[in-house]
Symmetry: C2
Subunit: 86 residues, 2 copies
DNA sequence: CGTGTAAGGAATTCTGACACG
DNA sequence: CGTGTAAGGAATTCTGACACG
């Protein structure tokens, strides 16, 4: 038995709060998920749940995209994939 | 300009998450608010938003009520009201 | 590629009230 | 007193798609 520990990784927020805190649109937030950049949990009925660290991540992603970085590259950063140079 | 600081006091969770984390019913959670024991924020449309510390508080309140303590007394504890003994 | 939007349905949340006690 | 519930409406969230480029 371990106590329920809360961390910045705990998925607790719904879309509305995430939109408000990141300033991003639902479309953007869902698209980043589609591109495997963020991984929210889902409630039994399918409602997305995000953590505080997801907020950080989302903001970071949006900044990079604004700079012209593609989602593919961002994904590699996040996943720490150092693919060999062909 | 101050950065948006996040703390355990930041109101970010909706009812569903609070219900899940506290194990309480909506009725109980709303009743404790009615009795001035908890103070969630409200989104523009009226949706309640709770903080992580609210979760702690709610669990604490429920435990006391289970022990037979009345909401009036709990409220005094919370508000630090040391009324004189008549 | 990254994002906006209209579309329709499903799930959430809200309030005020009746109930028991 | 503290909590359950049925009631009806309003707001949220979800998915798949068309659009631009």
């Amino acid at each position: 038995m371990e106590k329920n520990k809360l961390s910045f990784k705990t998925k607790i927020m719904t879309m509305s709060t995430v939109k408000e805190m990141t300033g991003l649109s639902e479309r953007q937030i869902r698209y980043y998920e589609e591109k495997k950049l963020v991984f929210p949990d889902r409630s039994p009925s399918g409602i997305r749940k995000y953590s505080l660290s997801d907020i950080r991540l989302l903001i970071n992603i949006a900044e990079q995209i604004k700079k012209g970085v593609r989602t593919d590259l961002i994904r590699e950063q996040i996943h720490g994939e150092n693919l060999s140079i062909s």
